[in-house]
């Protein structure tokens, strides 16, 4: 088993502070080599050359080359069947397939389940057309499901706790999987006065994802990495994000926003997440042992997002701020984002892998709105019970 190799010289927590002075980006590929020993370089080539007939180039640039035939990976994505993270596996699979890798997506549950009637599952035929395999089942039985098929990389985009992920990780070790990737959550960071959440910051003591992260780290994968996402927009999303705002804006309804509206959040286009994951697959040595905030590199406020949605829709915006406690409602049910500053930055991905964000909310939201209208959601009859309760209670306060 090849030893886990870390190219990045600084220890993880010092990524953004004094001792971590990084070589300029333009010379990154050169300096990568400058800091690695020749033996390690050879090791990584040896691994890949085992599989392919064509002799790998000894040029150092192939470490970072986009997937050429010599670097083709066999990837298994274990994907959740619902929720905000479901779409990540879909985009990741699509990107891998278009780069020439082999992909199998194992979705939790049954193919015949009602859950499969929602995106991104409704688009899984696209994965098959692109040469991917889609299977269904219980991840705890992953070995039985995939049988003798071999994989180089496994992404667990499903489990929130050790009970769910352990069987997959254990199987991956026994099956000789080299790289294990895990979709965790930026929600495990401890909220602090200082912002943003940066890789290495304190996490909540009781966060179940943390136990998974630590368990993975303790196994003997050649490469493992953890990805902590926030909120996503993008076609194929299983969970509403910007739609919540569009629903109200197109119906000329006020948008009720808890608190001051100044709360920061991070809304990424899901293609940012899949590009980061793909980069980790193609730079498995550099990504080894790292935690990556899997997010775009800009924060937006609640009010700001409402404004951008209205601009994308070309409609007027009316925002009402309210105090959830005073109104007597649970903000979690009333609003799609957690009611506090919740903002992580993708510093590790940028510094270690030279990743760049492509999320452009003003442009991306226009595309999202176009699809919103195309599928006829703007005409769909809707109830706004919680909104009405909020607006009603505010009116009551005013007339006193």
């Amino acid at each position: 088993m090849a030893a886990a190799v870390t190219f990045a010289a600084p220890a993880l927590p010092s990524l953004h502070s004094s001792s971590c002075s990084l070589p300029p980006l333009t010379h990154r590929s050169l300096s990568f080599v400058a800091f690695t020993s020749p033996t390690i370089t050879k090791l990584s080539f040896h691994r890949s050359s085992r599989r392919f007939s064509s002799a790998p180039s000894t040029s150092v640039f192939s470490i970072k080359a986009a997937a050429a035939a010599a670097d083709k990976k066999r990837v298994l994505v274990v994907n959740t069947n619902s929720g905000g993270h479901a779409v990540i596996g879909f985009y990741f699979a699509q990107q891998l397939l278009s780069s020439g890798h082999e992909v199998t997506v194992l979705t939790v549950g049954d193919e015949s389940s009602d859950k499969m009637k929602k995106p991104p599952f409704t688009r899984f035929s696209e994965l098959v057309s692109a040469g991917g395999k889609t299977v269904w089942g219980n991840p705890a039985q992953v070995g039985d499901i995939v049988g003798t098929a071999k994989f180089d990389v496994v992404l667990d985009n499903n489990g929130k706790d050790l009970d769910t992920v352990k069987p997959v990780a254990d199987w991956a070790i026994s099956a000789g999987v080299e790289q294990f990737l895990y979709i965790s959550s930026a929600g495990i960071y401890k909220p602090l006065d200082e912002i943003p959440h940066v890789e290495g910051d304190l996490v909540k003591d009781d966060a179940s994802h943390v136990l998974v992260e630590k368990y993975m780290a303790g196994l003997s994968f050649s490469s493992w990495a953890v990805f902590r996402p926030q909120y996503m927009i993008g076609s194929g999303n299983n969970k509403d994000c910007e739609e919540w705002f569009f629903d109200r804006i197109v119906r000329d309804r006020p948008v009720p926003i808890p608190g001051s509206g100044m709360q920061l959040t991070n809304i990424s286009h899901v293609r940012d997440l899949s590009s980061m994951l793909s980069l980790a697959v193609e730079n498995s040595a550099a990504a080894n042992g790292k935690i990556f905030n899997c997010v775009s590199d800009r924060a937006v406020t609640f009010d700001g997002l409402a404004k951008l949605c209205a601009q994308a829709a070309g409609r007027e915006l009316k925002v009402i701020h309210y105090d959830p406690k005073a109104v007597g409602i649970d903000a979690k049910k009333a609003f799609p984002f957690r009611n506090m500053h919740f903002y992580a930055e993708p510093r590790a991905a940028k510094e270690i892998m030279g990743w760049t964000s492509s999320t452009n909310l003003p442009e991306d939201l226009k595309e999202r709105f176009d699809e919103y209208v195309k599928i006829g959601r703007d005409k769909k009859p809707m109830q706004f019970d919680i909104d009405d309760k909020i607006l009603g209670s505010l009116k009551v306060a005013v007339t006193v």
Partner: protein, 385 residues
């Protein structure tokens, strides 16, 4: 589960708390020698192989416009320690040099013996042009320039100028819903800092080898802008801290010593040619959080914070709070990536440094003025009764 105290040294475990890097003890007293060594080491270690090696080749003749008040005090020391010939251009109203708290007598005498002074008013453009032309300088650090017209005579006087390094401001950025500000963001031609913008444009149009640094809020010992001082006055008096609106507005502080180091890092650095860099602290902080951080840094108990609606008051000309009432923070990634610079002070450490070397010794620039506080607190008391 790792539960670590903020001040522990960085560990290999990714789950260790590292929100505050351990501060090397040499930085708690400003030691020019220690800093310049680490600077040189940084430059040598992190230059990529094969890239153009531009080191400070021998001593430069440097002129600092200003240099006796805050940033320049620290910058000039670093430059002198690196072996450059440094002149300060000031009207001479403030002493040319002052011994810094924590600075050894020997270091101070050494600095004092080497620093030069050119006395004049930079608004006297003719004098600026003739005196600078007469002396000739390789590099200009313009730390106190506000308007483009002030820079023209400098450029006219020095056609062979190697580099013009300008202290601009992140205040030039156009207010945005998407933050942090990156150097590529839109700027606001109508902002209070438009003079800085116009200066940057002038520099670019004149074909000078320029570098512009955009700090956010600067803090540290000798700060003449009552940033941390404003909080320290209230903490010392045991008064509540009045914060406008929700207190979740996010701002960003950068330590003056880190800023000085950034200014030195761009000297003679070809990567920095015609580039703009945001320079500040690594993390941002809410208004409420900053009040708490000041208390922590200075060793006071957690303060009571009172929120108020500024629209309900007429403070006249007085400023009730030292920060602009909006989110305001900038990414320092570009400087980190391209220059190999990184801030060494975390927020609480930096505030402790400022307190220990300045306010905590009984020194401050502006005496306490609680007029606006009393207006705010008076009204709150009335509402409660």
């Amino acid at each position: 589960m790792a539960r670590l105290v903020a001040m522990q040294p960085r560990q290999a475990s990714p789950w260790a708390s590292s929100s505050s890097p351990l501060l090397p003890s040499s930085l708690s007293e400003f030691s020019g020698a220690a800093l310049s060594i680490s600077l040189q080491k940084r430059r040598r270690t992190w230059q990529p192989k094969g890239a153009l090696q531009v080191t400070a080749s021998g001593a430069k003749k440097i002129l600092i416009m200003g240099g006796t008040r805050f940033i320049g005090v620290f910058l000039s020391r670093l430059l002198v320690k690196e072996g450059h010939q440094v002149t300060l251009f000031t009207r001479g109203k403030a002493p040319i040099t002052q011994q810094l708290p924590g600075e050894s007598d020997q270091d101070y005498e050494d600095f004092k013996s080497k620093i030069l002074h050119l006395k004049g008013d930079r608004k006297d453009f003719e004098f600026v042009k003739t005196s600078l032309a007469a002396k000739g300088f390789d590099v200009i650090y313009d730390i106190n320039g506000r308007e483009a017209v002030e820079v023209e005579p400098i450029l006219d006087a020095l056609p062979k100028l190697e580099q013009f390094i300008y202290c601009s401001s992140a205040g030039v950025y156009l207010k945005s819903d998407l933050l942090p500000h990156f150097e590529t963001d839109a700027v606001d031609p109508k902002s209070r800092h438009k003079g800085k913008l116009e200066t940057e444009s002038l520099l670019d149009s004149r074909g000078v080898n320029w570098t512009s640094i955009r700090p956010v809020y600067i803090y540290g010992p000798l700060n003449y802008n009552p940033v941390e001082e404003w909080f320290f006055h209230r903490l010392k008096a045991g008064r509540p801290i009045p914060v406008p609106n929700s207190g979740v507005q996010i701002t960003q502080l950068g330590h003056v010593k880190d800023l000085a180091r950034a200014f030195v890092t761009v000297l003679g650095n070809s990567k920095a040619s015609k580039q703009v860099y945001n320079i500040s602290g690594s993390k941002y902080v809410t208004f409420d959080g900053l009040a708490r951080a000041c208390a922590k840094g200075a060793g006071f108990p957690e303060p009571e914070i009172v929120h108020y609606n500024p629209k309900e008051f007429d403070f006249g000309k007085k400023k009730a709070f030292p920060f602009r009432d909006q989110h305001f923070f900038a990414s320092i990634e570009k400087a980190q990536r391209e220059l190999g610079w990184a801030p060494e002070f975390g927020l609480v450490e930096g505030l402790a440094d400022s307190y220990n070397l300045d306010f905590g010794r009984g020194t401050f620039r502006k005496p306490a003025d609680f007029t606006t506080d009393d207006m705010i607190l008076g009204k709150s008391l009335v509402l409660q009764s």
